[in-house]
């Protein structure tokens, strides 16, 4: 049997030590009436057979298309060295670093990851990560609810709609009031958001760039929130964060992000990485693991999991979160990717992505009857184009040409059926963008 090393002789020897006649005897405690009624799992296959089967399934998926699909999940270039380093068994076959002396590799990497994302967002503290950007946002909201002991949460409609559904699912039984402030043609309605934040508000939640791709400054909104005793939460985009004004500079109390763009494959939605950073005053409300630096008795520097009294294994039902396993290997990948590309490389990735998106918008807007949803507002690597016809028709027509044109917004924003969210990264070439524009023009 694969992966099970015992020979029949060894099994016999072990049973003799135990004093059992057979392996079956070891299961004697499970009464007959509880035994499986069936166990209809097909017979095992060789490694080659399984690989062939999976290769056949993989080949059914279309990954050869030229894609402008983003929506918070982006196909950036990943250096080859990242794959090589992440393949080290010492990293990926380890468990959570409960024995720090035998886990300094993982622990120092978490510490470095925390440092890197805290610097990226200009926040004081970071944890080792949670499941993904959506659950990170939910955890941030719960931090605010605990910290303020208030129940009202103000959310901009320009926050990723999928994250907003996740938030609604988790808070359904918690008697929270979620107030959604409608967007204004793709921008956050600052006046309405500011007005919605009052002395009952636990948190105000925004995203930058927002789901439509729009870039804004939330400094004034966050200042109002502070005056009202509410917590400001911003969901960001790590790659662009090298060039955009940071949540820290805007005065956010908590910044979260989907970490996928930092070197993680799209992989059909996971595993991803929920980045969480916050001000020091909120660190004890943070969920999940945190690595800290300390020393041993002879003064050697080392790293441990710290502030564990927040966590479920100590505080049980009073813990800040139930999270145990997180996405440690994804955080390591994000760190390795950040180090390989470095300050300059990441800044270039951001600049190239922004440049390509603006080129694409310019090309599309040269086509009669195509406009931007909000041409007055700046955007980063993603923008919302509005067509004279339903955007789904564009997507369908371009699919036949081997192009994924973008994400039609009608699904989540009734009234925006003609709007299409288009993203670029540094991987897009001008020729690819020119072809998109030609095919869109043809489809109209």
């Amino acid at each position: 049997m694969p992966y099970i090393p015992h020979t029949p002789d060894e099994v016999r020897e072990m049973l003799d030590v135990i004093g059992a006649a057979s392996i079956d005897e070891l299961f004697a405690e499970i009464p007959a009436e509880l035994r499986p009624k069936s166990f209809d799992v097909p017979p095992g296959l060789t490694e080659m057979e399984v690989r062939r089967r999976l290769e056949r399934l993989a080949a059914k998926n279309r990954t050869d298309m030229s894609s402008f699909l983003g929506g918070g999940f982006y196909d950036h270039y990943v250096p080859s060295a990242a794959d090589m380093l992440l393949a080290r068994g010492e990293f990926y076959t380890a468990y959570t670093p409960y024995q720090p002396e035998a886990s300094q590799g993982t622990l120092q990497a978490i510490f470095e990851y925390q440092t890197a994302v805290a610097r990226l967002f200009e926040m004081e503290c970071a944890n080792a990560g949670v499941y993904d950007g959506g659950t990170a946002l939910y955890e941030a909201v719960m931090m605010a609810v605990r910290h303020t002991r208030r129940k009202k949460v103000v959310v901009s409609e320009a926050v990723n709609p999928i994250y907003r559904i996740v938030l609604a699912t988790y808070t359904k039984n918690l008697r929270l009031t979620l107030v959604t402030v409608p967007h204004m043609r793709g921008s956050d309605d600052m006046a309405a958001l500011t007005q919605a934040v009052d002395a009952e508000t636990a948190a105000v939640v925004v995203q930058n760039p927002n789901f439509f791709g729009t870039i804004q400054d939330f400094t004034s909104l966050f200042s109002t929130a502070r005056d009202q005793g509410a917590v400001s939460i911003l969901s960001g985009y790590p790659v662009l964060q090298t060039v955009l004004k940071t949540p820290g500079a805007m005065g956010a109390d908590i910044a979260t992000a989907e970490g996928q763009s930092l070197g993680l494959p799209l992989s059909f939605g996971g595993p991803y990485l929920g980045i969480m950073t916050c001000r020091k005053a909120l660190v004890r409300q943070m969920p999940g693991r945190i690595a800290g630096r300390t020393a041993d008795a002879s003064g050697r520097t080392g790293y441990v999991l710290t502030l564990q009294a927040r966590e479920q294994h100590i505080r049980r039902q009073k813990a800040t979160s139930n999270i145990c396993s997180n996405q440690a290997l994804c955080a390591l990948r994000a760190l390795v990717n950040l180090c390989l590309t470095g300050e300059e490389g990441l800044t270039r990735q951001a600049a190239l992505s922004i440049e390509n998106a603006h080129y694409a918008a310019m090309r599309l807007c040269c086509i009669p009857e195509i406009t931007l949803l909000n041409r007055d507002l700046p955007y980063g690597n993603e923008f919302t184009a509005v067509f004279p016809i339903n955007a789904k028709k564009i997507v369908r027509a371009l699919a036949d040409e081997g192009i994924v044109a973008g994400f039609p917004l009608g699904r989540y924003y009734p009234g925006l059926e003609n709007a299409l969210l288009v993203c670029c990264t540094e991987k897009h070439g001008r020729d690819e963008i020119d072809r998109l524009a030609r095919k869109v023009e043809k489809a109209l």
Binding site: M1, H6, M14, A20, F27, E29, L34, F39, G44, E47, L54, E55, N61, R62, T63, L69, F73, P79, A81, L85, E90, T93, Y95, E101, A102, Q104, F111, T115, L120, E124, C125, V166, A168, Y170, K172, V243, S267, G269, G270, P271, V283, A291, R293, T294, D296, G302, L307, Q308, H313, R315, Q317, S325, V336, L340, G342, E343, G345, H358, A399, V404
Partner: protein, 482 residues
Amino acid sequence: MSTVFAKSVPGREGVWPEKPRTEPVDFIPEGLLRGRDANLPSLSELDVVRHFTRLSSKNYGVDSNFYPLGSCTMKYNPKFTEEVAALPGFSRLHPLAPQLPGGGDMVPGALEVMYETEQLLCQITGMAAFTLHPMAGAHGELTGALMMAAYHADKGHAKTKIICPDSAHGTNPASAAIAGYEVVSIASKDGIIDPEALAAVLDDQVAGVMMTVPNTLGLFERHLPRIVELCRAADALLYYDGANLNAILGKLRVGDAGFDVVHLNLHKTFGTPHGGGGPGSGPVGVSERLIPYLPISRVFKDEAGRFSLRYDYPKSIGYVAPFYGNFGVMLKAYAYILRLGGEGLTRVSENAVLAANYLRKRLDDLLDVPFDRTCMHEFVASAERQGKNGVHALDIAKALLDRGYHAPTIYFPLIVKEAIMIEPTETESKDTLDAFVTDLREILALAETNPAAITAAPVTLPVGRLDETRAARAMEITDDLG
């Protein structure tokens, strides 16, 4: 070893893309830009490769060390599954693709993998349906608790409490509390749930009872049929924490046994690596009566054999994850299940239980084993006896590290003093188990004759015991704090 930031040399070239023709300020007003460095490292590719290769050498992993960490099922992770998950036909798939018009046709292979995985997990557990969305065990627990809430609310009787035994993993009460429940703890008797203690608290406000089988002491819950009966009578749903499923594959299907909700840990039972703390995958299975409440989306197979994602389930609890869970992890588990097949999975549990009982027998003269009867895939010993010489479970753990073994789980479950929880798994050879016994016996002998040699451990690792109090007080959690 200095941090990667300390090694940074401004201007040193890494893996850079070409220089952009423009700058962000050409498109975005200056006031919206960062305008200063993020102080990320600037390093050569070799600098980075060497830094992380050296870091990796400071870790124990299953690939390098026996890792008998109880409750965590640190079995061997087959390598071919890594290649399977990295196939571009899977790894390049955008999660929003199926939401595009005609998008299901772009990802049929991925949907088929998810559908098949759900079907296999149903067969393995006897549950009626599965969701693959939860990204770890605790996430599965929360998903399960939310479904229990939805079930009771739908019946017009929202309930307020969930019962957990005192031997439960900490995630059980934490998940129940986060779902909005009050947690009631019940005391174990002879290491297992006492049906009378359960009956005493099982009133009409109890939404569910969370169990681990075998439990965290590695013991089978002998009163399971009676517990099922009690829960049915009180309309409380029975939850199965799948952390210990590695003990019962092919021997007990929790669906047949009467459980309503289960979560599995693909990263424990189904051979996917734990990654130093994740990513895991915590699929949740339900009995027939809970199907309407499963999270959306759900994978649907039509009569023509075509796959699609469906969202039209009005009673669903909603989205527990933005997409479909940790797809890359479920791919590895799917490959693992196909590789082993039904017989292979049964052998997994048989050999895991065999190895645990073997270690228990070879050690029970030197370590107290509080409930010394046939265990399942793991057992809990106690170092209380060693305490008289000033040697504690922690010291024994550290001494094991010195000898090249990862330590067992210690101080859990909470109901055993000086607990040492040992789970060898089915993939470790008898030679490895014997060597472990020899070394552990030597440690326990030293605990009698020269306790200072044990309490000083570890001495062979990059650092000795670290000052955790200082870490918590100084709170140096980034290079810039503290």
